[in-house]
Symmetry: C2
Subunit: 328 residues, 2 copies
């Protein structure tokens, strides 16, 4: 295992320490329990948005804490759900009285622990579940579809609405609406390696790739010989549009997301291919994001995410955001 | 070779096409010859900043074209210098009459071709050479030190000054001053693979790393057994501060730069370690940047860059920038 780490037990704590000191203007890292909040005071009356999940998907979620997006993030150990006490403590810090929206990716541990935190939390609260991955219906740690990079889009859009003063019930409905209009699929060229395991999560021969891989290396739809970027993009675009069924002329947001070890050059090449294929299907790529936002440690590969926009969603996507990873 | 590409001959063209369409609000991609310019009109009287070099270091340089930074970038083929006709054509497009500053990394091909373009260009022009890599004095394609990630800092600071109205001679002096106050060093955990070569540029056993590696995989100071992040950071910080010799209490900018296949978690962990070591040496980390800005295709590893700031440089660093890769 080749990683820039010290001891496998210290990876999360030391990465968070570095993150907190690099972005001290934006975030505060709390310990015992561990969570990350905005450094700036949260406007009274604003609904607080909290997400979280296993670490190893950076910048999701701590890198998305800041104005116009999340108020807090609860990182678990690598690929391990955070615990209810983290979520509860985060809620108590960031809830300014207007309530808390928990944004939860659909993994059994995350769902269970956010449910427990919700039961324990006495303030107003609601949840949004993301399950944008069209690759498989059930998976290693998931009943139903997995929540993947579309979560970034749900967080950006609900974050903008919360900043603009939307109330808790409206934010919950908005989050569910964005999730329902969002589909993703990924492909792995290599496995990731969990530090504590010390070896690749799965074996992938030098000439093969995993189509529909999960963000923890869960199996996808099939293992096939490595294909061209064009063929990979076509496979993913077809799976996404086949399921989303965007209307002719629909405006979409296209996210090309790297899994952690994928150079920008390859992501942009994939973006160009995916965009051409989408436009050939009669949809309009109105907004784009290309980069590594929902990663899988050191996995090589990428995912495509498509969100069907409308005027409201496009406006909220365009609204200012200031986090470590997204800023405009 | 596992890459998200189509044919090795099309990698640059297709990546640039995707880049141009993803960032059509920011950049224009020109072909025959190939260069990238700002989409927005350049203010008359502003000195134009042009950089360039072999591709494979994305987002450097095309991802740094935009307000407050570069006016144009000239990408060569992967790890291959751009040609003088690219630079000349870019200069003719972006020079608004106040002249052109060429920002050139110290590699023999880049230096030679920018020199040729300078000789051919009839407008006012000057050049800044970057050579921030302390690892080795001469290298595979370099006489003297290599220009690496410090180039991003030179481009940001001179870009801000150009936007503020600085004249050509002042910008040249400023760029030279930033370069003189900047030092970098990198470490590779894996080789990169040039698409057209199809195999790793160098062999690196599973338990070894290359200390002081160049951004094309050129040899560094030594090949050693893989070390802890702390030991790696100490080695790099000592090399940098030993050479830069910052004054006690000096304010510095610390850039932790990923080489393309390094997850954010590892970069932040390295940042935390490097920052502690720098502060223990009595310098103050006043500004930070953590991410993959000067990459080496799919190399795993990172570099540290330190720039000794002063009030002028800090103010120019903080000035607004709007490019694909840097924005504040």
């Amino acid at each position: 295992m080749k990683k820039l780490i010290n001891h496998v037990d210290d990876v999360l704590a030391q990465a968070l320490e570095g993150f907190g000191s690099a972005h001290a203007d934006l975030v505060r890292v709390h310990r015992d329990p561990t969570f990350v909040t905005r450094a700036a005071a949260i406007r009274p009356g604003k609904v607080a948005l909290i997400s979280g999940g296993g670490s190893g998907h950076e910048p999701m979620h701590a890198g998305l804490v800041g104005t116009g997006m999340l108020d807090a993030a609860c990182p678990g150990q690598v690929f391990t759900s955070p615990t209810p006490d983290q979520m509860l403590a985060a809620a108590q810090v960031v809830d300014g009285g207007a309530g808390v929206l928990f944004i939860v990716k659909n993994y059994e541990g995350d769902v269970m622990n956010f449910d427990m935190a919700s039961e324990m939390y006495e303030g107003r609260h609601a949840s949004v579940l993301t399950n944008d991955d069209v690759a498989v219906e059930d998976s290693t740690w998931t009943t139903g579809r997995r929540g993947v990079a579309g979560t970034v889009i749900v967080e950006k859009i609900t974050g903008a609405a919360a900043e603009a003063g939307a109330e808790l019930a409206a934010l919950q409905a908005l989050g569910a609406r964005v999730n329902a209009r969002t589909r993703s699929m990924g492909v792995a060229l290599t496995s990731c390696t969990v530090p504590a395991a010390g070896r690749p999560t799965f074996e992938l021969p030098e000439d093969e790739m995993e189509v529909g891989v999960g963000i923890h290396g869960e199996p996808g739809r099939r293992r096939v010989k490595l294909q061209s970027a064009e063929a990979i993009a076509e496979d993913m675009v077809n799976a996404i549009t086949g399921d989303l069924a965007p209307a002719a002329g629909a405006e979409i947001l296209l996210l090309v997301n790297g899994f952690g070890a994928t150079p920008a050059m390859e992501l942009y090449l994939m973006y160009g291919g995916a965009r051409r294929l989408l436009e050939a299907k009669g949809v309009k790529v109105a907004r784009s994001l290309v980069g590594s936002y929902c990663t899988s440690l050191d996995m090589a590969g990428c995912s495509l995410t498509v969100t069907a926009l409308d005027d409201e969603l496009r406006g909220l996507w365009d609204a200012p955001v200031h986090t470590a990873a997204l800023r405009w």
